[in-house]
């Protein structure tokens, strides 16, 4: 036994856990009676529900009145709705990165954070998918985007990046949901066997599908999980690439660039990790999960934030250089205008939040400070929201002919729907924390030292 502890890394899970204590600690959160719900949860839930109600009211008014209630005009026909869409899709990407890419790379520290990172993905994609839907002008016929045989005798245009986007985001949502649910089956079975009352017994019994942890079942289960991780990896890269095609395939200066797919993917992972960090700190504090989400997990995520933030900074620099090097006047103007024009404030907010502030994570002490990482994760998400604003709005506001230029000003409803989307996201997330296993029970047991059959060999 001693040979093991000496040669291996520091433990992933702290606080001397047994298999039973892992089941107990994670299941008890969902089993607690109403009075057992932490006060902080209620406070956050009330705030989220208010924001959600605000979203419902704003959308109702939007459908009644039309998209004119937003700041969109000519030439800025894509306003905050599309900024928010790209922002939310990007947030989702870190969840898939943690669950799929880190799984394939055998990064075992991912086990503590993958479940709620995947949940975050699903809720973020729900928020993202809402925006193009309410932006189409006549949302009651939004289903015309789908290719189905119809009495009009027409089909959608498969050469359009907007259609590709619908397929990419639709697939992404479906696959993420299946991946999340598959990962949860063993944990639902654990909770099923612990269930005391009728409602829990029946609902968990149905959701666990009769899984009984048998050797033959685990074999197929592990294979399915590996395949899902394997196909989610190219999928997550493709989704934000396709989102970037919405811009890159057009001929607008500042959008028509080949750097967009990798640049968007790096930015998506960057913002997503920041959001995972925000949520991890909240979940850890509300439910005191310090033994499962340890400082090591948080520090690793901070390192990834530093890495991807720096990659995004490189992309900003590269983009600027190429616009000068291209010798194209329109392209050059688009970038100089971003940094010095009417929207310079947005551009420099983006640069400071995304490139400058994350450099603080070069210092170990900063990487390990809960306060610093929480504040910085919010700063990064502000910065990444501004990145999409800069790309979309500055480019459209000042395109080819100065006579066609205009300055974009958001309205009250732009703000209220953005805030409302956070309400939707947080409401779903808080419900998830309360009712589903927020940490993968079976996976955590699998990384405990006593889960390894060889652990028992050297015991003297």
């Amino acid at each position: 036994m001693s040979a093991h502890t000496e040669t291996s890394e520091p433990p992933l899970i702290t606080g001397t856990q047994s298999f039973h204590s892992v089941s107990q600690r994670i299941s008890e959160v969902t089993e607690a009676p109403i009075q057992g719900t932490p006060k902080l949860w209620w406070v956050l839930m009330v705030i989220s529900l208010l924001a959600l109600a605000n979203l419902g009211a704003s959308i109702a008014y939007l459908f009644w009145e039309g998209v004119g209630i937003w700041g969109v005009q000519n030439p800025v026909g894509w306003g905050w709705a599309i900024v928010n869409f790209v922002f939310w899709v990007g947030i989702g990407h870190a969840g898939t990165l943690i669950s799929a890419v880190l799984f394939l790379l055998r990064q075992r520290w991912r086990t503590s954070i993958n479940r709620f990172a995947e949940a975050m993905t699903i809720f973020a994609v729900i928020c993202a998918g809402m925006f193009p839907g309410i932006h189409v002008g006549r949302p009651w016929v939004a289903w015309w985007m789908a290719p189905y045989p119809n009495q009009m005798g027409i089909w959608p245009n498969f050469r359009s990046p907007l259609l590709w986007d619908m397929f990419a985001v639709g697939t992404y949502f479906t696959v993420s949901l299946m991946f999340w649910y598959t990962g949860m089956i063993p944990d639902l079975a654990t909770m099923r066997d612990r269930a005391k009352n009728k409602i829990r017994k029946v609902s968990l019994g149905v959701m666990a599908l009769g899984f009984r942890g048998s050797g033959k079942q685990w074999q197929n289960y592990e294979k399915a999980y590996l395949i899902l991780a394997g196909i989610s990896t190219p999928l997550v890269l493709s989704v934000h690439s396709v989102v970037s095609f919405d811009f890159a395939v057009s001929l607008v200066p500042g959008w028509h660039t080949t750097i967009f797919p990798p640049y968007f993917v790096a930015g998506a992972i960057f913002s997503g990790f920041a959001m995972v960090m925000t949520l991890a700190v909240v979940a850890r504090t509300v439910y005191k999960m310090e033994d499962f989400i340890t400082m090591k997990h948080l520090e690793n995520m901070n390192k990834i934030i530093l890495l991807t933030g720096t990659m995004v900074g490189y992309a900003y620099g590269c983009e600027f250089f190429i616009s000068w090097y291209s010798g194209n006047d329109y392209e050059r103007f688009a970038f100089v205008n971003r940094a010095t024009g009417d929207y310079a404030w947005a551009y420099w907010t983006m640069i400071s939040c995304n490139v400058i502030f994350p450099q603080i994570f070069w210092f170990r002490k900063m990487r390990r400070s809960i306060l610093v990482m929480f504040v910085l994760s919010i700063i990064v998400n502000i910065g990444m929201w501004f990145e999409r604003f800069v790309i979309i709005v500055t480019t459209l506001a000042n395109d080819f002919m100065p006579s066609a230029w205009d300055y974009f000003t958001p309205t009250f409803f732009d703000f209220s729907i953005l805030i409302g989307s956070f309400g939707l996201f947080l409401t779903l997330f808080l419900l998830f924390l309360r009712f589903l296993p927020m940490v993968a029970i079976a996976e955590i047991k699998g990384v405990l030292p006593q889960a390894d059959p060889h652990f028992y060999e050297e015991k003297h």
């Binding site: 009769g210 395949i227 006593q450 059959p453």
Partner: protein, 182 residues
Amino acid sequence: MVQTEKIEGAVAQFENPATLIKAAQKMRDEGFRNWDTHSPFPVHGMDDAMGTPRTKLGWMVALFAFCGTTFAYLLQWWTSAVDYPLVISGKPFNSVPAWVPVMFELSVLAAAFAAVIGMLAFNMLPRYNHPVFNSENFVAKHMDDGFFVSVEATDAKFDKEKTVEFLGSIGGTNIELLVADD
């Protein structure tokens, strides 16, 4: 009443993943067929210990992914070049490079459905009940911290006394016969 009791199998508990692996090897070598091990998480090396052949799930997923690709190509070709040809940006009706994103997405979608539904089908899930759930100790422990071996009565080698004895001889404790409760 005792005569009408229907015995559906037997279950035995083991102490930890290492003893479960050893028990699985002995069960395999003894020639049992309708038996299984149960653990709250996948135990490394269990497939070899049980002698389970490799799962065919990968092939099934590959087949469905290929169907997804083909369907996506045919859908786009037929709608854009045959049923509703429309000149867009001067591109050919069958503009294959533009079909690639949707072909990729539908391949992934089909593969994911095949992986999840195939996994459930190979595992014979969802399933309403199973003889092992007649043991209260099994229900309480198998997804928490217990390690079990179960043998079903349908196994040719199954015998009420001998199997129980054998499970004890390979280190099993809390050995129970699974009695149908209906």
